[in-house]
């Protein structure tokens, strides 16, 4: 009986999947302009062309490397994430905030036996932690010049906290994490509102006039990435505390 039921479900699932595969195949061979799935030529009218040329505001702007452009971040993915589509990124931070809040809310709380960590881990933990913090800090500070950025930086910083928890060393407590989370979150919006009062538009990058390729360029981009990194790190550390808290 049970086998029959699961066999039935398998057959239904395979039917649905083959139907979808057929449909995608049909779409990809259909004539006319559309999804030619394996075609690599993208239309010239896409919005990315203006992002790459950095001439959204001025059609004819040209620039050289290490000269001023409208958006002075050298990494164009970063300039899309933290400047052209900054509002999306702030919402994404809120998504992580909500889910981690829900995580802490529904996870069953029960007593755990605290195991003594090994001596080697205890001794070496601070060095590892400092290494992690340095890598994470480098990542978000250089997020506008090289690959990386706030989210992986936050993840790496949070592993420093994880090592601390595993080694049994006291690093931060719950209350501090909550404060860091809220302060970082509010300051992202505070900068947005500040730009409303300075420039009249929300989330505008109001520090301009830098040169591409400098460490201190990109206006508010490194600031935002730093805030995002701290927020993500605080939220992810919350998860580890939920798992390995001594109670």
């Amino acid at each position: 009986m049970k086998d029959e039921k699961s066999l039935f479900i398998n057959i239904v699932a395979l039917l649905i999947l083959s139907f979808m595969a057929f449909y995608i195949y049909k779409v990809s061979i259909d004539t006319g302009s559309g999804i030619k799935i394996t075609d690599s030529i993208t239309p010239k009218m896409r919005v990315a062309d203006k992002y790459l040329n950095k001439n959204v505001l001025n059609e004819n702007s040209t620039y050289k490397f290490s000269q001023t452009a409208e958006d002075t971040s050298a990494n164009i993915v970063t300039s899309v994430v933290v400047d052209y589509r900054l509002f999306d990124t702030t919402l994404e931070v809120i998504v992580l905030f909500v889910t981690i809040l829900g995580f802490g809310f529904v996870i069953p709380k029960d007593k755990r036996r605290v195991k003594m960590p090994s001596v080697i881990l205890y001794r070496w933990a601070p060095i590892l932690m400092i290494l992690m913090l340095m890598i994470g800090g480098y990542m978000f500070i250089n997020g506008h010049l090289s690959p990386g950025g706030g989210f992986p930086a936050g993840a790496i910083i949070s592993t420093a906290v994880l090592i601390g928890v595993l080694a049994g060393r006291k690093t931060v407590n719950h209350k501090t994490l909550k404060v860091v989370e809220a302060v970082a979150g509010i300051s992202i919006f505070a900068i947005g509102i500040a730009s409303f009062f300075i420039k009249g538009v929300f989330f505008q990058n109001f520090i301009t006039g830098d040169r591409i390729g400098d460490l201190f360029s990109g206006g508010l981009i490194p600031v935002f990435y730093g805030l995002i990194a701290f927020k993500v790190a605080a939220e992810l550390s919350n998860i580890y505390f939920e798992f390995y808290e001594e109670c």
Partner: protein, 119 residues
Amino acid sequence: MTKVFILSSLSLVFVGLYGVLTRKNIVKILIALNIIETGINMLLVAFGYIEGGLTPILQSDLSIANLDKMVDPVPQALVLTSIVIGLGTTAFALALAMRYKNTHNSISIRATDEEGVNV
């Protein structure tokens, strides 16, 4: 190249979808969901890929001359967002799954079907 990327991502999507539809264990459903998500992220980035394209980072004067050979940065930005959303979904669903195991004493998604029988 583009063909390889798109076919591999579509294959991941289909395998994951099969897993979500047929598995009963909640943890395995979530793993399958993550496989779909990886596939769709790869699909999005592959849509922006250009044969022999360059990384969209300005490194020198040379890279400014080659702006039209750079791969599309917008899908990459969208995928950055979607990876973090995937982490959020997984974390929330796993916490719910742990609570589910406490309350239902089972990890099967069909355990709710016997609701009202032994409550």
